[in-house]
């Protein structure tokens, strides 16, 4: 069960919500295997909106208009704010997770696509797709701390669990750039397959998974030596190789399982993250790109940009249990930490 958090004074209705959470928690105690209720936020790239899903009822509870072309979405570690890349507004919007109101706009640099937050919650590292740089932004002061030039069309961003290394992938240069978060200098590069879209560290920081959309692979990199340890490949009967386009990658906290979104193959691969064997392909919606676990890792949500829905995967049973219609062209997804 989630620890009880005193309601924040700024949020109206929070005590009631907290009571709800407590009741749900009590229910969870009775039904030993029931999942906790979390809130899932989905950015709809063409709908210019975010959809909010309740992880218990698996229904859309709210939809709110946000800035134009929303893509990358994440939350602060305490869950009090949502950060959203409003790409066509050239800004990162700070959104209240309860009211869904845009609280502030941050200086993101041009065309922000995806970002990563320092584990402490500040700063935010933003990939500026059109400007070949990474913007380092102090989210409290709304001040740009540094701009790091990287390869062409940066997109995937990941911070090592110790917060010391930032990885940015560049889609056209086909590299994962390792950036020291103390000096904001590139300290190393790893060449991966064509169009790397996403990077994800294991929770112990010992491995880095980088997906290559056009290359059709996921490279597993040793961040210490910056060498590729293994390249995961995918084969699905009845699906042409060019249709298999890996994008989003999520790893379970124990580092044993990786889930890889395969784009227009309409499948999520379940990979043994120790042997690198693909154990299963789960059919989800069309053009699956991004993934997010609930904090208890019981559910995984996928954004399916062409079928305009979110698929819900039961993680322990490795089964797709539901498809939920959201806005137009869902892109990013994040689950509240509480």
């Amino acid at each position: 069960m989630t620890a009880f958090h005193p309601p924040a004074p700024s949020r109206r209705g929070a005590p009631l919500r907290a009571l709800g959470v407590a009741l749900i928690g009590a229910g969870a105690l009775l039904a030993a295997d029931a999942a906790e209720a979390y809130t899932v936020f989905v950015s709809n790239e063409r709908g210019n909106s975010i959809s909010v899903i309740d992880s218990e009822t698996l229904t859309v509870t709210k939809t709110a208009k946000v800035g134009r072309r929303p893509r990358g979405i994440t939350t602060s570690p305490d869950g009090k704010v949502i950060y959203l890349c409003a790409s066509d507004e050239h800004a990162v919007q700070v959104i209240d997770p309860s009211s869904l109101k845009v609280l502030r706009k941050l200086k993101s640099g041009p065309d922000p696509e995806l970002f990563a937050l320092q584990p402490s919650g500040n700063p935010l590292y933003i990939a500026n797709e059109d400007d070949n740089q990474v913007t380092v932004l102090d989210v409290e002061k709304n001040k740009v701390i540094a701009q790091v030039p990287v390869g062409t069309e940066p997109e995937g961003m990941a911070v090592s669990p110790d917060g010391k290394t930032l990885v940015a992938t560049s889609e056209t240069t086909n590299m994962a750039h390792f950036i020291d978060t103390g000096t904001f200098k590139i300290v190393g590069n790893v060449l991966v397959d064509a169009r790397p879209r996403f990077a994800e560290f294991t929770s112990d920081g010992k491995k880095l998974f980088v997906s290559a959309e056009v290359g059709g692979t996921v490279s597993v990199v040793d961040p210490e030596t910056r060498k590729i340890i293994h390249k995961i490949t995918f084969k699905i009967p009845g699906v042409s190789q060019e249709t298999i386009q890996p994008v989003g990658v999520r790893l379970t906290k124990d580092g044993k399982t990786a889930f890889v979104a395969l784009g227009p193959a309409n499948r999520v691969a379940v990979v043994n993250a120790e042997t690198y064997e693909v154990e299963q392909y789960l059919l989800v919606g069309q053009r699956v790109w991004q993934l997010a676990f609930t904090p208890d890792e019981k559910l995984l949500f996928t954004t399916n940009g062409n079928s305009n829905d979110v698929s819900v995967i039961d993680v322990p049973n490795r089964k797709v249990i539901k498809s939920i219609k959201v806005g137009n062209a869902p892109w990013g997804v994040v689950v509240s930490p509480q």
């Binding site: 056209t172 959309e213 056009v214 042409s240 060019e242 249709t243 059919l283």
Partner: protein, 211 residues
């Protein structure tokens, strides 16, 4: 995506030439290691892989769809974008109601038809997109020649205009405008194969629901 330069341009002439060059560089830079004739940001996929849109029973085992007249008629109707998606459920239910004991096999045939009709429509579209891209390439080459010719006549900004330079400048402006407009519609053009895939996927899902 193809874009106008944001900085570095000095005056209309430089802007025209620079934009012609940037327009040329755009699609090539966005598409590493793929078909040079393919202008879209999406990776080229020559066909719709059956397994991406269908997880139901083997469509070959259901027998030739075109030989089942009712199934074929329904397949054409469903595959047509003129049939609104809201009507799909009603059409399928209507078919099942009169399809007899082998309704499920016949439903699989309906899907086989929708898949084949949509696939061939998509293949034509893909050729069309490539033709479009080659046309743009020719226009880009012409823009470059016109830009070069204009630079030769009117080397510096303070060179006085002549009737010839004005005519050339006008032509370059028009060609750039045509190029720009076509480049803008490219986003839409590139999305048409996806629109077909969305339809066949959704119809597949609804047919599977009835099996």
């Amino acid at each position: 995506m193809i874009q106008r330069p944001r900085r570095g341009a000095r005056g209309p002439l430089a802007l025209l030439i620079a934009s012609a060059l940037v327009l040329l560089a755009g699609p090539a830079a966005a598409q590493p290691q793929t078909d040079p004739d393919w202008p879209c940001a999406q990776r080229k996929r020559p066909d719709i892989s059956l397994a991406t849109v269908w997880t139901g029973p083997d469509i070959a085992a259901a027998g030739p769809w075109a030989a089942d007249q009712d199934a074929a008629t329904l397949a054409y109707k469903l595959a047509s974008r003129r049939t609104p998606m809201e009507e799909v459920d009603g059409l399928l239910d209507g078919f099942v109601a009169v399809a007899g004991p082998d309704a499920k096999t016949r439903l699989v045939r309906v899907f086989a038809g929708v898949y084949e009709i949509t696939s061939s429509e998509r293949a034509q579209l893909m050729h069309g997109i490539e033709r479009y891209a080659r046309g743009q390439e020719r226009l880009a080459a012409r823009l470059r020649e016109e830009g070069d010719a204009l630079s030769r006549i009117k080397g510096a900004l303070d060179t006085p205009d002549t009737p010839e330079s004005l005519a050339l400048e006008e032509k370059l402006k028009w060609d750039t405008r045509i190029f720009d407009e076509r480049a803008r519609s490219l986003t839409y053009v590139c999305e048409t194969p996806v629109i077909l895939e969305q339809r066949v996927f959704e119809i597949g899902r609804r047919i599977t629901d009835r099996l």
